[in-house]
């Protein structure tokens, strides 16, 4: 292929009011405006969204799943960060 490649964009959709945007896939488009239109056509044909974000795929910075132990292990031992770590007498009631 000697044609120029069309950039890839990641698509995020807010499905309902009060919900966060959620990743749902990707589209190819020459620019942001066309990426938004393509994302609408591909991912919201049945009213799945109230709002769309598109982000150039090349701009996403991701953690390395291979290094997930080093990345996330430190919180594994910090059980005192959870409410159930603390004992409250029953007489006090719900807390």
């Amino acid at each position: 292929m000697n044609e120029k490649t069309t950039p890839l964009w990641e698509v995020f959709i807010r499905s309902r009011n009060g919900m966060a945007h959620r990743h749902c896939g990707s589209v190819h488009a020459a620019d942001a405006e066309m990426a938004l239109q393509a994302a609408r056509d591909v991912y919201t044909r049945r009213g799945e969204g109230l709002s769309i974000w598109v982000v150039p795929s090349a701009e996403i910075v991701a953690s390395d799943p291979g290094a997930k132990d080093m990345m996330f292990e430190p919180t594994g031992t910090k059980i005192y960060r959870h409410p159930t770590f603390y004992e409250i007498p029953e007489e006090v009631g719900n807390m």
């Binding site: 044609e3 069309t6 890839l8 896939g25 190819h28 020459a30 620019d31 291979g66």
Partner: protein, 329 residues
């Protein structure tokens, strides 16, 4: 709509780090989803790129036989439904390309493989749509068979493929129902229309059974796909499920399945069907079906005719970017 990719996989010969392979298999065995950046055996990656892209190609080529009838739909309601269905097929192709691209394949590369004939697509789309009843038959039988195949793929071990399949399955149900309803309407109408539906069933029945791929005794490489949890049921298991579900639906329409050997086995509770003509299947896969050349020609023409649009869009994007940079400076 469906993948026939599993028919011709290369044997997997991994000489990679046995430890990593074992850890990978353990994750799969425990029903963990594998994500794009996770380590995976090269064979797993290759198998998935091939299967997902061939599945995507099938969706895209699958737009052609139905697109044939959009301008000739009998009512506005049927036209709107068919248009929506064909748009869905295009959308399904795009969800799947998007999943394949997470494995490092580029869209241009995948598209090139389809246009050059290197990549396969489902054999079913090489049959012609001769009458309006064929549109109903495709929805009922072809999408019905696709659903049988795709539901287990929702639990595929590769995250992006499994998520794409969940979306697709949700939309596919509309396809099957509109097809069956269309046929029901025709069957309740004149004898002439009912005959047209029977004729469509006669032509689509066997090719639909072939969609499940070769019989288990001839299907190589299934074991590896099963172990990797890409595939969950064998070709014959899925084909049997399809026959069991579809025969009573045909009877409800008052139609006859074009198979003299078809009979209900009281003991097993399954419909037994006759021998499939595997030579026809091989012929169509090899490129000698009724419409193979026509389908490829249409795809190539669409790609070539769209070249100036892709070029212009990129040029416009560059110009806009340059203008913005100039303004900022």
């Amino acid at each position: 709509m469906y993948t026939q990719a599993l028919n011709n996989l290369e044997a997997v010969t991994d000489v990679e780090d046995a430890g990593r392979n074992a850890a990978f298999q353990a994750r799969v065995d425990n029903e963990y989803k594998i994500e794009p950046n996770d380590w995976m055996p090269e064979g797993y990656r290759k198998t998935l790129v091939r299967q997902i892209s061939q599945h995507a190609h099938s969706e895209i080529v699958g737009m052609l036989p139905e697109g044939n009838w959009i301008t000739r739909a009998p009512t506005l309601k049927r036209k709107a439904a068919l248009l929506a269905k064909v748009q869905d097929e295009g959308g399904h192709g795009l969800y799947l390309y998007s999943a394949a691209e997470t494995l490092g394949a580029s869209r241009e590369e995948l598209n090139e493989q389809l246009l050059s004939g290197k990549a396969k697509y489902s054999s079913i789309f090489n049959y012609p749509t001769l009458t309006w009843a064929d549109i109903g038959a495709i929805g009922w039988l072809v999408d019905g068979a696709a659903i049988m195949n795709q539901i287990p793929l929702c639990r595929c071990s590769f995250g992006p493929y499994s998520r794409a399949m969940i979306r697709i399955c949700k939309e596919e149900s509309f396809h099957q129902r509109q097809g069956y309803e269309l046929l029901l309407t025709m069957c309740k109408s004149s004898q002439e229309q009912k005959d047209m539906v029977q004729d469509a069933l006669n032509r689509w029945w066997w090719p639909s059974l072939m969609m499940f791929g070769p019989s288990d005794k001839d299907s190589q490489h299934s074991a590896q796909s099963m172990a990797w949890k890409i595939k969950r049921f064998s070709n014959d298991e899925l084909r049997q499920k399809f026959v069991d579900a579809t025969v009573p639906q045909a009877h409800y329409l008052g139609l006859t399945i074009p198979d003299e050997d078809l009979k209900f086995d009281e003991e097993t509770g399954h419909w037994e069907y006759g021998e499939i003509d595997w030579s026809e299947f091989a012929r169509v896969l090899k490129g000698d079906g009724p419409c193979n050349r026509q389908r490829m020609k249409a795809r190539r023409k669409a790609h070539e005719d769209g070249a100036w649009v892709r070029e212009a869009a990129l040029a416009h994007a560059e110009k806009k970017k340059a203008r913005k940079a100039q303004k900022a400076a």
